[in-house]
């Protein structure tokens, strides 16, 4: 057992709901991953579409959101959106925080997902798009049936990196009071002082969450790679 002066691992696990906090982290990560995947796919489609305005909007979105600190987006969601603009996602404070955290994580990582997908689209040879159009498929049809299925397979590795970043970035939601792992860490440090054991618990927790994701996506990217 690891014990430093003060609290040990067993004390912390016994007195605090560490698993509950990590469960919130997982919920945030899963919902935001889905949200950012949908948003990223839409924006990526806009960025490769033949319509100039859509391409511009897509590029503007990526460049603004990707270059804005996530902390700022989080604080804005409560201080700016909820309190000043009155955009409440729930009348209960707790679920308002959780929903805004999911939205902001999705919005932020959507930009990265978009770029990952675009890099995937670039792995599909030009000839395929031309062939698809020449047999009479519309832009939408060729995207759905020819380009995107291959693009997703080519984008698996960068999507995995984005997902790992997203899981770790859920900790930023602590700045608006989400009840996830980093928030509980602050609570424990306040009450028990920061011991090495406390930090190790949370570090190991995140490694346990992200390591399988990394291994899984690497394996998946090998299996799904389009051989050309």
């Amino acid at each position: 057992m690891i014990t430093t002066r003060g609290v040990g691992v067993v004390d912390v696990l016994g007195r605090y709901d560490v698993l509950g906090a990590f469960w919130v982290t997982i919920q945030l990560a899963v919902l935001a991953a889905l949200g950012s995947l949908v948003l990223g796919a839409v924006v990526a489609t806009m960025r490769v579409s033949p319509v100039r305005v859509l391409r511009f909007i897509g590029a503007a979105y990526v460049n603004i959101v990707r270059n804005t600190p996530l902390t700022l987006l989080m604080v804005f969601s409560i201080l700016g959106a909820t309190f000043i603009l009155g955009l409440q996602l729930s009348s209960a404070t707790g679920s308002n925080i959780f929903r805004w955290a999911v939205v902001m994580l999705s919005v932020y990582h959507g930009a990265f997902v978009c770029e990952a997908l675009r890099s995937g689209i670039n792995t599909v040879p030009h000839g395929q798009a031309e062939a698809a159009r020449s047999i009479g498929l519309t832009f939408g049809q060729s995207l759905r049936q020819v380009i995107l299925p291959q693009a997703f397979r080519g984008a698996v590795a960068p999507l995995g990196s984005t997902l790992i970043a997203l899981i770790k970035n859920t900790t930023v939601a602590a700045v608006i009071g989400a009840t996830e792992a980093a928030g509980l860490l602050q609570e424990i440090v306040e009450n028990e002082t920061g011991t090495l054991a406390v930090f190790m618990i949370f570090a190991i927790g995140f490694v346990l969450l992200t390591l399988p994701v990394g291994i899984g996506f690497t394996a998946l990217s090998r299996r799904l790679a389009v051989r050309r």
Binding site: T93, V175, I176, T193, G194
Partner: protein, 281 residues
């Protein structure tokens, strides 16, 4: 996509979130104004971002903690010019002391049993209590019992936030990373009250930009005993620091420092002040 209106609000939110740390401040004495002189150099950990307690503005440091630290240093034979101020965020205070990066910590440091296992305390030099800060036109909030269905703000993970959650479960609690964001939310009517130690609340209420807009309710519902942290087991230093605190109260400097730093917002120190110090062990 963020529209133009959204961007203006975003800019406003940034300005309130980041700007508060830079402005305001009480009328406390400046610490770095001593004559050239002697004594042993001291490294003292304080808060850099807490108006009325420990606030850094350029090269000047103001606040009650700064004044107490300066007084104690003088009694230890250290000239104010020989003090180097070190930022001591809450989570790092024990480490700063145990690794010798600072000699003393005077940074709204509550004496608790968990902390006593890692550091020693001299004092207390002030007894604070958890209280509420509300808008001055608000007469509905008179204490923690009147918070039902009100929105309350505090800092994530802080003792105050935890206490409210366990003792008053009917309260809607919004948490942020810093008190500055809570004050901004309170002024913007996003929350109805802000809770933490009354000293910190009085410090914010006394800032020029909030003068007259905010008030401390004045019904403390906990006791936080602020001590001066020092390396564990240094009984000799503890005795000297304790003597310094006792003489600060006795010669009137304590009252003067409290009035100068926290008095502006009609704040009166709660019961138990000026405190009697604990024996060093």
């Amino acid at each position: 996509m963020i529209g133009r209106r959204g961007r203006v609000v975003l800019a406003a939110a940034v300005a309130t979130a980041l700007g508060l740390a830079g402005c305001g401040g009480g009328s406390g004495g400046t610490a770095a104004s001593g004559s050239s002189g002697g004594g042993q150099a001291l490294k003292i950990g304080i808060k850099f971002d807490q108006p009325g307690l420990g606030l850094k503005q350029g090269d000047t440091y103001t606040g009650l903690d700064v004044d107490v630290a300066t007084y104690v240093a003088k009694k230890l034979g250290t000239d104010p010019a020989r003090i180097s101020w070190v930022q001591a965020p809450s989570a790092q205070r024990e480490t700063l002391l145990s690794t010798g990066q600072v000699d003393l910590v005077v940074a709204t440091y509550s004496i608790t049993d968990a902390r006593k296992q890692k550091v020693s305390f001299a004092g207390p030099y002030f007894i604070a209590g958890q209280d509420l800060l509300v808008r001055s036109d608000d007469t509905t909030i008179t204490g923690p019992e009147s918070l039902q269905n009100k929105k309350l703000c505090s800092v994530k993970g802080s003792t105050s936030a935890q206490k409210v959650k366990s003792k008053y479960p009917g309260v809607q609690l919004q948490e942020f990373g810093t008190y500055s964001e809570c004050v901004a939310a309170l002024v913007a009517r996003g929350v109805d009250a802000l809770t933490t130690d009354d000293t910190i609340l009085a410090g914010y209420a006394a800032q020029p930009q909030y003068k007259g807009k905010l008030k401390v309710v004045g019904k403390p519902f906990s006791q936080e005993r602020y001590g001066i942290g020092l390396k564990k087991g240094d009984t000799a230093l503890c005795r000297k620091v304790t003597d310094a605190i006792t003489s600060m109260v006795a010669d009137g400097s304590w009252q003067k420092a409290v009035d100068a730093n926290l008095g502006a917002a009609q704040y009166k120190p709660g019961a138990g002040n000026p405190p009697t110090t604990d024996p060093c062990s």
